[in-house]
Amino acid sequence: MATPEVLAEQQSLKGINADYEERFGFHDAENYLYKAPKGLTRELVEKISEFKSEPQWMRDFRLKALDHFLARPMPTWGSPMLAEVDFDNIHYFVRASERAERSWDDVPEDVKRTFDRLGIPEAERRFLAGVGAQYESEVVYHQVHRDLEDQGVIFLDMDSALRDHEELVKEYFATIIPANDNKLAALNSAVWSGGSFVYVPPGVHVEMPLQAYFRINTENMGQFERTIIIADEGSHVHYVEGCTAPTYSSDSLHSAVVELIAKPGARIRYTTVQNWSQNVFNLVTKRAVAETDATVEWVDCNLGSKLTMKYPSVYLMGERAHGEILSIAFAGKGQHQDAGGKIVHAAPNTTSNIFAKSISKDGGRGSYRGLLEVAKGAHGAKSKVVCDALLLDEHSRSDTYPTIRIGEDDVDVGHEATVSKIGEEQVFYLQSHGINEEEASKLIVNGFIEPITKELPMEYAVEMNRLIELQMEGSIG
């Protein structure tokens, strides 16, 4: 198994981990961080910034964000489980190599079993379990990266991007989600580490989806990832984050911040498949701006974690911009998926769709929380929101909390939500065709989510279907 240091030596691409040696040069910071105590202090934030050799403005930004975080109370809405988050009991920075030292043996049985059943190869399993393995398709990976470079696409981890493209990063960083936007964004702003930075030049269409683990950087499994994607005029890019296989994490709090900007005529699709282990609180702020004639699509699948609170949003700031949010949430035993989306129509002739599907089983709770806002002046706005929920048994729960605010008369806005169970007639029909009840239920559930899974890259869609089937059998968690 290759260690990160070996990997670093093997990289020939400029900008990817080339500074690895440099980063480990600050010995005192390194020692401090290696033994970083739990809890969040000003000193820790300063050390993180020092360790990463960040410019002064970023250090100041982090410290101010820390002040905001400490001053803000925890939100009182959402899940009652939020009260369980103990901020003093979390390690806010774990050095990359420390992560890599965790062994495959530490990964829980149920997670290992799922990998087997999903047919995921050994090396990839280790990697996905956060153990830091060499991804098998390294050769493919290198080739893809060369192609991107030729097109002028920047695709780096955020730490490297800050170092190599400081002005570009500074232009956009925290302009969509300011440090003080909410408590968790403030936390992320203070201690962020890792995440992706993507810049696509005008007119460039990136054909294949950019995947987070193409970065081969153990900061992947970061608790506090910070991602920015800028699609310049007329460009197209599809970014995929996460994986269907369960991602084991000993970190109990994951709080990422994702900012997307689609410039005129550009198109960004951001796909997330979240399947964190069941000890994780996943509290994320994701927001996008779509300018004139631009499109932003969020495809958001939430399978894991103990509690996820995540409402990807699109601000339609330019005429004829379009926003789309496709969301699947699966809430099993002990889980609360509190997801949804937010769309703001702030310019004329903008359109949007929100399509959310949720499944609750074994006492799980699936909630949809959304906002659809049409500002004054955004005439000609058209929007449709459809939320469907499937409750698989009598112990589970589904909530729908949409808010619609309309300040303009020339609009066409519709919202529908339905909650139901698997229809007996449907099951009966399938049974009469020789399919047993369990199979029939799985088929129906897959059919229920099909409108969204068909938007996923194929290998995800296939794995997703398999994973849902496994969840239905109750063999996970």
């Binding site: 905001h68 989600i177 300011p178 003080n180 936007d181």
Partner: protein, 105 residues
């Protein structure tokens, strides 16, 4: 025909300072940003709460809303960061005989 209201003397508004003025049902924040004067509605368009007590950045002549961090350009009233997206009103500032005045409609 715009009306002019008196704010204060220039001694009472040194660089980096802000004064709140009320006119009819509006509250307006008057700023001295590095020697130049600006006046902006005391309202963040994100939640209609107060704006002017937020942090003033003299380098960029912006004020940051204390509740969710949107930064507003004092010259144009436009928000430079989300979550606010709608601009707020600005008012021309006139200095005559060492007295700062505002033009309101």
């Amino acid at each position: 025909m715009p009306e002019t209201i008196t704010v204060c003397s220039i001694d009472d508004l040194p660089p980096g300072a802000m004064r709140l003025v009320e006119w009819e049902d509006l509250e307006i924040g008057v700023f001295n940003c590095g020697g130049a004067y600006f006046a902006i509605e005391d309202r963040c368009s994100h939640d209609d709460g107060p704006l002017a007590e937020g942090e003033l950045d003299e380098a960029t002549c912006t004020v940051e809303c204390p509740r969710h961090g949107s930064r507003f350009d004092l010259k144009t009233g436009k928000p430079l960061t989300l979550p606010a997206y709608a601009p707020v009103d600005t008012f021309p500032v006139v200095v005559a005989d060492d007295v700062i005045k505002l033009e309101v409609d």
